[in-house]
Structures are given as structure tokens and as C-alpha cells.
Amino acid sequence: MNHSATILDKAAIERTLTRIAHEILERNKGIEDLCLIGIRSRGDVIARRLAQKIEQIEKVSLPVGIIDITLYRDDISSPQGGQPQVRSTKINFDLNGRKIVLVDDVLFTGRSTRAAIDQIMDFGRPRNIQLAVLIDRGHRELPIRPDYVGKNVPTSRDDDVKVSLSETDGEDKVELMSKAR
Amino acid sequence: MKILIKGGRIIDPASGTDAVMDVLVERSGVTKMGKNISSPSAKRLDADGLIVSPGFIDMHTHLREPGREDEETIESGSRSGIAGGFTALVPMANTDPVADNVEVINFLNAQAEKHAWTHIYPVGSVTRGLEGKAITEIGEFKEAGAVAISDDGRPVVNSKVFTLALDYASMFGLPIISHCEDVFLTEGGCMNEGLNSTILGLPGMPSAAEEIMVARDIAIARLTGGKVHIAHVSCARSVELVRAAKRDGVHVTAETAPHYFSLTDDAVKTYDTNAKMNPPLRTAEDVTAIKEGLRDGTIDSIATDHAPHTQVEKKVAFIEAPFGIVGLETCLPLVITRLVNDGVLTLSQAVAKLTVGPARILNLPMGKLEVGARADITVFDPAYEFTVDTSTFQCKCRNSPFNGWRLKGGAVHVIVDGQLRLHDRRLVG
């Protein structure tokens, strides 16, 4: 039997994102040259929510971009099987000299982050790249460390962390799905 | 101008009319038909005892213009047509230059406008220069008024070219008039291959040469759905092939010429070059089959294949003479004498082969005699008996095998587009 436990509920997600928004502002001493880039899918939703919160605080809107990292993954094109769906990347602003906060829902092996960083580098030369994640579940395979973490969740490698957001999934919830052992 | 035709027997096969009525023509149209029409201002034509029918159409004529105006012109050919009762001619494309481009068709139209006694409906060639290779600009021909396309005088030997041409022509609704001859089988021949050719020692042209091409054309008409009209059917098996194809719903029609139901290859026995035409005169069995084809409707139309040649050309050894005979002025008498009087066709059936038959094949705006129709009218006397004298022909040439024949039937009055062109057997110019 599989087992699932709620890690964050709607209110907790809300509080967490508010805190991260404040941390981003604090650390960057304002919003100058700041932008958010969300990784598809759900990282882009979280990025938009963070931008709204920052706008509520600072009364200025931040540029938000979306990247699809599929074509930068290191595991495509092995023989047989199907290719993942490619979606478009939308970054409608110049990245040169920007401070970028890369936003993802769950940080796991770090490979998505690596792919996202590579892709961002192909778009320009930002001043720096920071990483914000809603959940850090450990098991890193690359030397990557988040700057902003919603919640650290100890997991087993076989576990699954399921992030649901009202924009894409109809409700706000983060669950830990454990395989029966 | 008004013309009142009084007391004639109206035969209009298109509507099935066969009754004694008067016909009033005003300007270019038929405006009244009925008993006891009076119109004091109209020119009165007495038609007591005469037949009043839609104007005859000859769907297969060689007018030789441009190129051989010494043999015939649009003027002389159409004058001959009027004398024979025809109100429309369809000249074939094998002129010089060939009607393989729209300029020649425009020339024909312009000449017809100026000089023709009858309506002239041009035909464009199927292939450039009648060479059987490159198809012509049929779309332009259609716009210039062509009613069919034909390489007549020759077959389109290459079946692929014929197929493409038929496909292409069908876009414009134009039929191909096909001269059916396997030219390899007839090469060097000058008469029907049979007992007579053996006795006369003349190289033959077997009827198989015609049958092969009729069968091929039918197969291609079946494939493409295009319209094929078999010109000058001369032999029994061609009739059978067309009959079977029509039964299957293939878009095929056919014509024959008066000589093919009036003569056999016995006519060649005197080495008379006026009995030399292509296809050649066949046998008595073929004549019987052609009559049966006319009777049962397999053959839709009678056309003259009027093909004038000068005496200089014809007065040579049989094998060296050109193919073809004149026919516009002997057509009606042969139809009356050989078909109607011999009981092969009723008068109405015979008239249909000269009027509504060809009009339907070529989609011509004529072939009917009714109120509202264009006034193209032939008044003829089926009882008129005369001896054919080629020296009185209106056409330029005298190459007819019927000189001296005693025949019955002749045109008396002919109205073309509301104009009286033949009045009491005399041309009105």
C-alpha cells in the first residue's frame, strides 16, 4: 500500500511564499535589476505568485520569465521510448546584467537546475543566478544549493513529492507519497 | 423580316411533333406555330405537301479554307450546304494551316461572319499539326467557339496522348470526334480489304483497322468518362462495339455517311476514283449493319464527310487518288431514297439524324423547331425526283460517285437565322 502525507496545505504554502518573497527582497536590497524565471511546469506558477507578493510589498512589478528545460536535459535521446513534450520558453526581457531568481517547485537531483542554468547562459550574461524552491527533498547529484527554501523534506529516493497548485491542479497542496515497503 | 410558312407538315423529332401547321418567323426566331396563322406583312412560303423541319446540321464537313481554296471555301461549301438543305456546317480542323491554334479558329469565325451562307461551328485539332504528339490549347478553342476537337483525317495513334486529350477536353465539355483507323493495318491500302480488292489487285484496308480503334476509343472513353464521337462508321463490327458501349453507359456517340449505307466496294470495280474514300466502301453485310445501327439508334447522326478534291487530283490511277467525295448536295436525297423510302427509318427518325442528333452531340443551340427556337428551318420535298448532275453542284468540286443516279428528295426552302437563303430551290444571296 502506498502512503501519502500532507506536508504543506494551502495556508502553509501561502505563508511560505510570503516569507520567500521577503527574503528575496531582503537579500537583494530591493528589486533593482531583479527578475524571476520559473521552470516549467509549476516553477513558473510559483514564480508568478512570488512576483505578485513582491509587487504587493514594493508596488513595482518584476519581469517574470518561463523556461522549458527539455532540450537541455542530459537524458534525452537514449534509444527507444518516447520523447518528453517540449514547450516553449518565454523570456521577453534582456538577461544581461540581471539578478535572476530561478524558481522551481521541488529540488531533487539538481539536474533540472543545471539544465536551467545552462539555458539561461545561452540567453545572456546575468549578474548572478539565485535559486528558490518550494521543497528541497535532498539526494543531490550535482553541487547545487538553493538560496531560498520553502521547506526541507527528508525523503527516501523512491518517494515522490507531489506539488499541487490551484492554477494547474485545482488546489494548493504538497504531499509526500511513500511506496509501500 | 417576317416569313410565314403555310401548310407544311412539321416534323420536329426533338419534341415528337408531326402535324400540319403554319410557322411564323420574325427576325431570327420562330414566334408562332399553329393552324391558320395569318400575317399579311410576312413573306409567304407555300409548303403544301412539303416537310418543314429544323435546319439540317452537317457535323462533318471539309471546307478546305484556309489552304486549299481551289477545292472549296467557306463561301462555296456553305452555299452547297444550303442547296442540300443544311443550315449549319462543322468544318474539320485538317486545313492548312491546321486549326491547332486559336488564330486559325478566329480566322474561320471571321471568314464565316463575312462569307458563310450557313452557321459555321469550328472544330479545333486534338494535337499540334495533327501529328498526334502535343495536345492543343483546347481551353482557348472553347472560348473561341469550337464545338469539338478532332484530328479527323488521321487517328490519334498514341493511346496515352488520346487519353490525356480526352481528359483535357472533358474539362470544357467538348467531345473528341475520332477518325478510327489503325494506320499500320491500312498503310498503303486504298480500298476495303476483301474479295474485290483481291480481284482488282488493289492493296486493302481491312475493317479490322477501324474496329481496333473504335474498341480502343471506347475503352479510353470508359476510363476517362470523356465524350468520344466515332466519325464515319463504315463497318458492321464498329456498330456492334458502339451498341455495346452505349448499353454500358459509356459516353460514346457515332455518325455514318450516306455512302456507307448507299454503296459497297462493288463501286470500286470500275476503278472509279470517286468511289475512293477513307474509311473505304465496305460490303453488303456492313451496309445492312449500318442501316440497323441507324434504325436502333446506335448511330446518332448522319454526316456527309464532304471532302472536295479537284478533277486534277482525282483523275489519276485509283491507288494514287486522294481519299474523299463531296456529299452536301446528295445527302438528303440518299437519306430519303435509301433509308426512308426503303423502310429503314421513318421520316421523323431520318430528320433526327440530321438535326437533333448532331445538335445534342455538339451541344449546338439548334436542332429543334418550336416557338422561341432560332429560325433555322429546312423545308424539303421527299417526293421530288431528279437525276444527280454533278455539273449543277454549288460546291467547287465534282468528285461524287452518285452522278447520274435517279434519287428522290430535295430541299425547297432554307431559312438560316431568320433569313431566307433558299427559295423554291433557288439560292437567295
Binding site: 535521446s77 514547450r87 | 481528359d167
Partner: protein, 313 residues
């Protein structure tokens, strides 16, 4: 859905889901060519051969550029340069390339069915870049992408294909694809250039261009091969242009916002007049842009790759 094909040989055997998935993927790829660095690492290390047995500049260039933008190594073999002229068979050439560990072959051949023959005999992916008069799948896909882009949908759209249907692989692939996606497809050409039985593919047949284009949302004009005149498919370029060439005069019989398409290269003033080709209804250059995206998608999708679900990455 997932794309599970090694080869892209034709549209006939693709499902509606596969076509839609392909078009969605191609749509995403279009953005890459607008980036400052127009290159992604997706096919890094892959070797692709452009195997062209028939001359083509556009399609070959489009595939080559697509491969390069995906970071693949791509090389061109054209007839003149290949051993085929020395008598080597197609299968030998393919076997040799495969022995050099080629991952993908893009093939154009004058013989219908040649890429299918190859695909069944090699492990590498085969993408058909046009085989005889049979299929040209990437052309049809880029055309469908263009129509979807311009009209917002394909279902219910009236598309008329004008030109040499008989010899056209572009027409066949488009007929398959467009009818699958619910478009109303007609063909219009001289009778001689319409293959018999084509209506069995679910298209209407016209020989009169004015009737054909009256309700058209898209008029797709095919290149007329001038040498077809010699084979009697039409009597002259002049008559073809007059009856079937799309020019300003015929344009007036079209809906105002009808879209003009052509797979290129154009015989200007034969099948399509220059002013219409360059006019506001024309989307011919958008087709070229979409062609690149479609070919990137084809290379990407056919390169295989069974990866863990996105969420566990």
C-alpha cells in the same frame, strides 16, 4: 501522449493524436530560432546524414539548419557526391553509413517507397524528405502548422490544392493530414493532372478554378513542373497560367482573408503571379519559417529517448 516512432515516413499512418502532438512540439521549437543563441544541446553528439538523391536546396537546407540548431552533427550526401553513381545500391550505401554509426538519415529519393525500404533495413531513424510522388511528411506538417497558426484551427477549414496533383507528394501528404484533422479538402487541376480515384481519399475534385476557390479559406498552389508540358499533361504554359494560374484577377474571386500557400520554389507568373506571391494574402515565407521548426521537431521526436518522468528529474 508520447511519440514512439523511430521513423517519420509519411502522414498516412499517423494518428490524429500523433499529428497534433507533432504540431504542438513544432510550435514550441519555433521560439528557439528567435533566441540570441539559436542553438540548444538536445541532440548533442548525434550524427545525422542528409541523403538526397534528388536535387533540393530548400528542404535540405531546412533540415541541415534544424539539425545544427539542435547541436547534432549533420552532413550532406547528394547524388553527385555519392557512390550511387558508381553502381552501389541504396541498401549498400545505407549499410555503410550505419557501419559508421549514423543515428539518423534524412532521405529524399525520386522513387516512391525508397525511404520505407531503407527504414525497414537499418537501425537508424529514417525521415522521409520526399519520395517520388508518394509523401513529403515534413512539408505537410509545416503546412498544417501554418494553417493552424493563421486560421486558429484546421477542423472545418476549406483547403483547395491547385496544381499538378498527379505527381505531387506534397498534395498527397497534405490530403492525408488535413482530412485527418477535419479540414474540407478539394483539389483543382487540369483533368490530366488529377489522379483517377483521388476522390476516394475524401477530397472534392474541380477542373474549374473559379468554382474551386469560391469558398476556400486556404488556396494551396503547387509548383507546376514545366517539363510536364512535353508529356502532354497540358498544352502550353500560357493556357495553364490562364486557366489555373492564381493571379490578381482570380484573387478577386476568393474570400478577402483567404490564405495563399505554396511549397516553393515558385514559377512566378505561371502557377502563381508575382504580385500575389508577395501580396498580403500570401504566407509563403511563414511556411519556410515553420518548416525549420517542424524539421527540428522531427529530428527531436525521432531521436527517441525514454526518460524518467519529468517530475522525478
Amino acid at each position: 501522449m508520447r511519440w514512439n516512432r523511430k521513423d517519420l515516413l509519411g502522414i498516412e499512418d499517423l494518428s490524429v493524436e500523433e499529428i497534433n502532438h507533432f504540431l504542438d512540439t513544432a510550435f514550441s521549437f519555433r521560439e528557439i530560432s528567435t533566441r540570441p543563441i539559436k542553438k540548444v544541446p538536445a541532440l548533442r553528439g548525434k550524427t545525422i546524414v542528409n541523403l538526397f538523391f534528388e536535387p533540393s536546396t530548400r528542404t535540405r537546407t531546412s533540415f541541415e539548419l534544424a539539425g545544427k540548431r539542435l547541436s547534432a552533427d549533420i552532413l550532406n550526401i547528394t547524388t553527385a557526391a555519392s557512390s550511387l553513381v558508381k553502381g552501389e545500391t541504396l541498401i549498400d550505401t545505407a549499410a555503410n553509413l550505419e557501419a559508421m554509426k549514423i543515428d539518423m538519415m534524412i532521405m529524399r529519393h525520386s522513387a516512391s517507397g525508397a525511404p520505407h525500404f531503407l527504414a525497414s533495413r537499418v537501425k537508424a531513424s529514417v525521415i522521409n524528405a520526399g519520395d517520388g510522388s508518394h509523401e513529403h511528411p515534413t512539408q505537410a506538417l509545416l503546412d498544417m502548422l501554418t494553417i493552424k497558426d493563421k486560421l486558429g484551427k484546421i477542423e472545418g477549414v476549406n483547403v483547395v490544392i491547385v496544381g499538378d496533383i498527379l505527381h505531387s507528394r506534397v498534395a498527397r501528404s497534405n490530403i492525408w493530414g488535413l482530412t485527418k484533422l477535419g479540414a474540407n479538402v478539394s483539389v483543382c487541376a487540369p483533368r490530366t493532372l488529377i489522379p483517377r480515384f483521388i476522390e476516394k481519399l475524401g477530397v472534392k475534385v474541380y477542373c474549374n478554378v473559379y468554382e474551386a476557390v469560391r469558398d476556400a479559406d486556404v488556396v494551396y498552389i503547387l509548383r507546376i513542373q514545366l517539363e510536364r508540358q512535353k508529356s502532354n499533361y497540358f498544352p502550353s504554359i500560357r493556357e495553364y497560367a490562364r486557366l489555373f494560374g492564381i493571379d490578381r484577377e482570380k484573387l478577386r474571386h476568393l474570400k478577402k482573408n483567404a490564405v495563399i500557400m505554396h511549397p516553393g520554389p515558385i514559377n512566378r507568373d505561371v502557377e502563381l503571379s508575382g504580385d500575389v506571391a508577395d501580396g498580403e494574402n500570401s504566407v509563403i515565407l511563414e511556411q519556410v519559417t515553420n518548416g525549420l521548426a517542424v524539421r527540428m521537431a522531427a529530428l527531436y521526436l525521432c531521436s527517441g529517448g525514454d526518460i524518467e518522468s519529468e517530475d522525478t528529474y
